[in-house]
């Protein structure tokens, strides 16, 4: 096993981030949503425009795992078709979290050529970009972006709790 100790955490963590995301989760009653479709519909309502979710086959997406492109009349979430289903779901939740938290677009998305086409549109772009942990990478990382990404990641984990329940939970609560 080749091992690179990840001395730097992938996601920004702070008590304020937890508090803000927990507040957003409770305020919007996301605990009532049972499926990803429910969550999508809920977030689209909050955002005031439809959200389209599509898989993408682009091999240039190496450390970028999902992308939210916000157009004036609709939003699009792209995720990698090559990832496992659960990881895809989490990446979608991360982008939904950005929308819920009303995060702005982001210009620092690495040099992936595939992104140029999205930047060229009239949409705002924000992506779930993983930092490799190298010193250059970390030096380049803009502090605000790390905070916003940390918030979205934390809220994505909270959103997952709405879906992560036994399939027959109500039945189990009565008879289990």
């Amino acid at each position: 096993m080749s091992l690179t100790p990840s001395s730097e955490a992938l996601w920004f963590e702070h008590a304020d981030v937890e508090a803000r995301t927990a507040h957003a989760f409770e305020q919007n009653r996301f605990q009532d949503d049972r499926t990803l479709d429910d969550l999508l519909e809920h977030v689209a309502d909050l955002h005031g425009k439809p959200i389209h979710v599509d898989a993408i086959d682009d091999t240039d997406w190496e450390t970028l795992t999902a992308l939210w492109v916000d157009f004036p009349h609709e939003a699009q979430i792209l995720y990698r078709s090559t990832d496992t289903r659960l990881y895809q779901m989490h990446c979608i939740l991360h982008e939904l979290a950005h929308i819920v938290l009303r995060h702005p677009g982001c210009n620092v998305l690495g040099d992936d050529s595939s992104l140029a086409s999205y930047r060229g549109t009239n949409g705002l772009v924000r992506g779930r970009l993983l930092e490799t942990g190298g010193s250059e990478d970390l030096d380049d990382a803009d502090g605000d972006r790390r905070i916003l990404e940390g918030e979205a990641e934390h809220l994505a984990h909270l959103l997952s709790r709405s879906l992560l329940r036994p399939r027959f939970r109500e039945d189990e609560e009565v008879f289990g």
């Binding site: 001395s7 984990h157 992560l164 329940r165 399939r167 009565v174 008879f175």
Partner: protein
């Protein structure tokens, strides 16, 4: 048939004791838990009629048994029906239970010469109209409750409900059989051999039905315990792996997530380990990757109808 009643009693008593923690922590599980307790008492009076001497020795044990059995069936039915928004709530009203209990307790009080405790009390007194009404109304009450239970479970998807459906179907058949045999005995129609055959059929159908319903309740408890054990095992394994790779999920130890369920812990660890790989911070060995994939598969199993998630099936 005493053996079947004894088996049902043992299973019910085990389920009652095993579900005490669930009943304490989960209010919605109390009805069915109480049903297993009341059902155990009902079966205890069936396998140990000698208890009659503590309540006067005039076969009041038979009445107690039927009152307890009706209550137990009604509690199971109420637990199952209250969960469904689509089923009518009429039968789940407490007044309905009281009306049922009173409707057969009253004719019992009119049965004469019921001194000696007997396992065949009903057969011995069936010529009396009060006895016939008492036993027939009791059977009709169980028939109605079981039918409501069966109808209430129509759209349920959990496999454990298969036991409930099979069990309540057998109980319904048993009740119909007993109502017929009570009428035949009371009016002394057909030969005795045929009636004995029908009586024996009742015991077999009824207790097998009860055992199946209790097995259904137990299977929910068992499935939950097995799933938690599997998730706990995966959580421990992934935690060891994450510690070795210095990977930490963002929610690890954060406020509000300290009392996480095992499934949430496994989810966070899987995502953190996948991020670790995707960020090119390191690679998992084949064995480690297999562990992560297995854990991921278990989490996937629990997601609500992933196949119907429109956004995610392309």
């Amino acid at each position: 048939m005493q053996a079947l009643a004894l088996i049902a009693l043992v299973i019910l008593a085990v389920v009652f004791v095993a579900r005490i923690p669930a009943a304490v922590s989960q209010p919605s599980s109390r009805l069915s838990w109480l049903a297993s307790g009341v059902g155990s008492l009902a079966l205890l009076t069936r396998v140990h009629p000698g208890l009659d001497r503590f309540i006067g020795g005039e076969n009041y044990i038979n009445l107690a048994q039927n009152l307890l059995a009706t209550t137990a069936f009604w509690l199971v039915m109420r637990a199952a029906l209250l969960q469904s928004r689509s089923t009518p709530r009429f039968w789940t009203r407490k007044l309905i239970l009281v009306a049922m209990l009173v409707s057969f307790a009253v004719p019992f009080l009119f049965i004469t010469d019921k001194e000696r405790t007997s396992k065949t009390f009903i057969t011995e007194h069936i010529t009396q109209t009060s006895t016939w009404l008492y036993a027939s109304i009791y059977m009709t009450a169980i028939l109605a409750i079981s039918t409501m239970l069966l109808l209430g479970l129509r759209r349920r998807q959990a496999r454990s409900y298969g036991f409930f459906v099979a069990g309540s179907s057998l109980v319904i058949l048993a009740c119909i059989d007993e109502i017929v045999v009570l009428a035949l005995d009371h009016f002394e129609v057909t030969d005795l051999g045929f009636r004995i055959l029908l009586r024996n059929a009742f015991d077999f159908l009824f207790y097998c039905g009860v055992i199946l319903i209790v097995t259904g309740i137990a299977s929910f408890t068992l499935q939950k315990a097995m799933r938690e054990a599997r998730l706990g095992r995966h959580a421990r394994r992934l935690r060891r792996l994450a510690t070795r790779l210095a990977v930490m999920p963002p929610t690890n130890g954060s406020r509000g997530t300290r009392d996480e369920s095992a499934i949430a812990i496994v989810y966070d660890l899987v995502i953190a380990l996948r991020d670790f790989e995707n960020a090119h911070r390191g690679r998992l060995t084949a064995a480690d990757a297999r562990h992560v994939a297995e854990a991921e598969a278990i989490v996937m199993e629990q997601l609500p109808s992933p196949a119907t998630t429109k956004a995610w099936t392309r």
